[in-house]
Every structure is written in C-alpha cells, then in structure tokens.
C-alpha cells in the first residue's frame, strides 16, 4: 500500500529526500548527494574535453590545433558560441575575459545538474532495492532527482551571482558611482527630480535582491514544473488501472501518457540547456549593467545622434 500512497503524489520524484538528520534538522539529502556527484562529473567531463581542445605537441604539425573527439568538439562549440555570440556583445572584451571562467563553470554545473534530473537514477536504485530485497519500499535510494529543483540550491547559486554582481559593481563604479547608479543618475538632474530620488532608490535597492531571487526562482520553478508534469502524466496510467478501467482502458491511457512523457522528456532536455543558459546569461547581463561601459555606450550613442543631427 505504501507504493500506492507514495506513487500517487506527482511531486514525490521532485522533492528532496532526507538521508540523515541530526536532531530533526536534515543534514544530508539525496539532492545534495546528486549535486556533489554532478560537480565531480562536470569537472571530469570538462577536464577530458580540455585535454582534447588544448594545443597538442609540436610533433603533430598543424593537426595540433584541431580538437580531437566529438565530445570535446561539442563542448568547444558551446564554449565558443557562449563566449563570442552571447557574452562578448553584452559584456565587452575585458569583462568577458574576466568573468568567463565563472560564467562557464556556472553554466556547465547547472546544465549537468539539470541533465542529471532527466536520468532516473533514483528509480533505478529503488527498483534494484525492491528487486533484491523483496521490500515494498520504493523510496530507498541515495542519490538522484534534479538538484536544481531544490529552492535552497538555486538560492545558493543565486547568492554567489548576487555577490559577484555587487562586488563587480562596487569595484567598477566606486561607492559614489554605485549610489549614482542606485538613483538612476537623478542626483545630477534638476532639483525637482530629487523628490523622486527616494522612490527610485528604494526600487533600485529592491531590484538588487529581486534580480538574483528571480534567477533562483526561475530555475527552481522550471525544473519542478517540468518534472511534476512528467510525474503527473505517468500517474494517469496507474490511476486508470487502480480506478478499475481494465486492461483496455488502462492500457490505452498508459500508452498515450507514456508517449506524451517521451515528448515532454525531449522538451525537458531543451529546458535543461535553456535554463542553465538563462541563469548564466542573466548573471552576465546584471554584471554588465553594473559597468561603466554601458554609460560610455550611451554617451557614444548620444554623440553619434548629435553628429547625425548636425550633419543633416
């Protein structure tokens, strides 16, 4: 019966499971273990790729510049695309060089965790446990699930982004520049506008925290949402059988819901990449918003506009 109770909840695959708790406080959970494994896998796979991407020995001639192996080429294509097409236009040459290690590490770490969520590690362990012990406990597993479907984990990553963004802002703009940024440059404006400075300041301060909070919630909600949907779809067949629809009715519903689950799985793979990218890219955008370059760009555009007006 515990199987029925457990499986009737579509979120049972999404929520964290406590492995060890001290005095009622959870200390070790399945998603933490998954995250640590994902960290190792990220480092290991990227290290493998980097060995193929790095320039080989002189003896290889011109072939030493060629990336060997499909996996390394895949990683390289992603790195080059993110760097040249996405980050360079947003952050500029200097900031891209500086923050590329952080941003790429973030992207690949989140991506690995997202993709880990699509592989049913937890269910494999539970089934093996049930098969070998004859137990009816379908929740005996030590790792698995989507680590990024844990709001605490996405908050932790967003907190790092927050720190990086603010440290960059202070270093780039200085305290005065930071305050100017916080008031939207209204301090230099007409005196009448000073009246709305407190409002703008409050909104900007709130924005500082809302931006990373939105990062955390977006990633968390997307991961939870997708996996809850898959769980719900898979439960339809079970519900049909337990509701007494019989072999034909239950079988049809199971078939249809399985087909849909497969289709949603492809969507989930896409979402895994997309959300990892969005988390990383928005962090890059928030960093670049705290730079001088943006203002310089605005100034240049203003100069260009003036020149264009003068020219006509």
């Amino acid at each position: 019966m515990s199987l029925l109770i457990a499986e009737m909840s579509p979120t049972s695959h999404v929520v964290d499971h406590v492995l060890w708790s001290v005095g009622g406080t959870p200390v070790l959970t399945t998603q933490m273990v998954t995250m640590v494994i994902a960290g190792f896998v990220t480092v290991f796979l990227l290290w493998i790729a980097s060995r193929a991407i790095v320039t080989g020995p002189e003896t290889e001639g011109n072939a030493r510049f060629v990336t060997k192996g499909k996996f390394a080429q895949l990683i390289e294509a992603m790195v080059v695309y993110l760097r040249n097409e996405m980050l360079l236009p947003v952050m500029g040459e200097h900031s891209t060089r500086k923050y590329l290690p952080y941003l790429l590490s973030l992207f690949f770490f989140i991506l690995t965790m997202n993709l880990f969520g699509i592989i049913p590690f937890a269910d494999m362990q539970a089934l093996l446990y049930v098969f070998f012990t004859g137990s009816d406990n379908y929740h005996h597993y030590y790792f698995g699930g989507t680590a990024t479907a844990n709001i605490a984990i996405t908050c932790g990553l967003a907190l790092i982004s927050f720190v990086v963004i603010q440290v960059h802002g202070f270093r780039e703009l200085g305290v005065k520049g930071f305050l100017e940024h916080m008031t939207g440059g209204l301090i230099d404006g007409p005196i009448g506008l000073w009246l709305i400075v407190p409002i703008v300041f409050a909104v900007e301060i709130a924005g500082l925290f809302i931006k990373p909070a939105a990062l955390a919630i977006r990633l968390f909600a997307n991961m939870v949402g997708g996996h809850t949907m898959m769980g719900t779809l898979l439960l339809f067949g079970y519900m049909a059988f337990s509701g007494g629809l019989g072999l034909l009715g239950g079988g049809t519903i199971t078939l249809v819901s399985t087909i849909f689950t497969v289709m949603i799985s492809f969507l989930e793979i896409f979402v895994a990449f997309l959300q990892a990218f969005i988390f990383m890219f928005l962090t890059a955008v928030f960093i670049s918003l705290m730079s001088h370059e943006e203002h310089e760009l605005e100034l240049e555009e203003a100069e260009d506009a003036k020149a264009a007006v003068a020219g006509h």
Partner: protein
C-alpha cells in the same frame, strides 16, 4: 523503522543545508575548473585563433610579394623590350651612318685618285713634251746642219730652235 525519512511533500520546502552545500560545491567546482580546465580551453582556442590569423597574414604577405614580383618582372620585361628597341634603332642608325661615311670616304678617295691621276698624266705629258722639245731641237739642228751643209753657229741654231718650238707649241696646244 525506515532509514529514509520522507520529506514533506512540498517542493518549495526550504532547507538550509543543500543551499550551503551548493555554494561550497560550486566554489570548489569553480576553483578546480579555473585552475585546470578553462586555462587549457582558452589557450587552445586562442592558439588556434592566433594560428589562423597568422596564417592568413602570411598568406596575404605572400600574395603581396607575388604581386610585387610580378609587377617587377613585367617592368623589367618592358624595360628590356624598350632597350632592345633602342638598340635596334641605334644599330640601324649606326649602320646607316657608317655606310654613308664609307660612301663619302670612297667618293673623296676616288676624287683624290682621279685628281692625282690627272695630275700625273699632266706631269708626264709635260715631261714628254719637254723631252720631245729637246730631242726635236737636237734632231732639227742636226738635220738642218746636214741640209745646209754648213755650220750653223750656236746663236743661229738657238734662234731656229726657238722658232720651230714656237711653231710646234702653237700647233700642239
């Protein structure tokens, strides 16, 4: 007792521990990747970039050099052609000049020879005439002596000779 405590079935349940672990794990991942992976990948990409750029640059340089060499070759060819033309022209002019010189010299020489020859002839003619005069005078004197059968004195003889010579030169000239 089940070793696994089922968490509250709420995905939004917040638990500090995974959050802190996330920060620690990510920072470790970041440090390891920054030390051992990203420098390698960056270097590989930069090296390749540099290699491609330098190859393009050297290819462009080679093309420029080839272009310059071709232009140089063509200029040399044109110069050589021009020089050859000039040489032909000057050789032709030289030949013409030499021929004209030769002709003029020949003509001058011919004229000189003609002049000398006529002078020689004149001299020889004069000598012959003078010899003839002498012989004729002697012969005339002897003949006249014989005819007259007397001794013509020298003064008569001379007079006679001169008369006859006068006559002779009037006829001869």
């Amino acid at each position: 007792m089940n070793p696994l405590v089922l968490a509250a079935d709420n995905p939004a349940a917040f638990n500090w521990m995974p959050g802190v672990t996330a920060i620690v794990v990510f920072l470790i991942v970041l440090v390891v990747l920054s030390l051992f992976v990203w420098p390698k990948i960056s270097k590989g990409l930069d090296d390749r970039n540099e290699k491609i750029l330098s190859e393009i640059k050297s290819a462009e340089e080679a093309r420029e050099q080839a272009k310059a060499a071709l232009a140089e070759y063509e200029r040399n060819l044109a110069e050589a052609r021009e020089e050859a033309n000039q040489m032909i022209q000057s050789a032709r002019a030289e030949a013409k000049r030499v021929a004209e010189d030769l002709k003029a010299k020949n003509e001058a020489e011919l004229a000189e020879r003609l002049k000398r020859a006529s002078h020689d002839i004149e001299t020889a003619k004069k000598a012959a005439i003078s010899q003839l005069h002498d012989s004729a005078a002697d012969l005339a004197a002897a003949v006249a002596g014989k005819i007259l059968d007397r001794e013509v004195n020298a003064a008569d003889q001379k007079q006679l000779v001169e008369e006859s010579l006068k006559e002779l030169s009037e006829h001869a000239v």
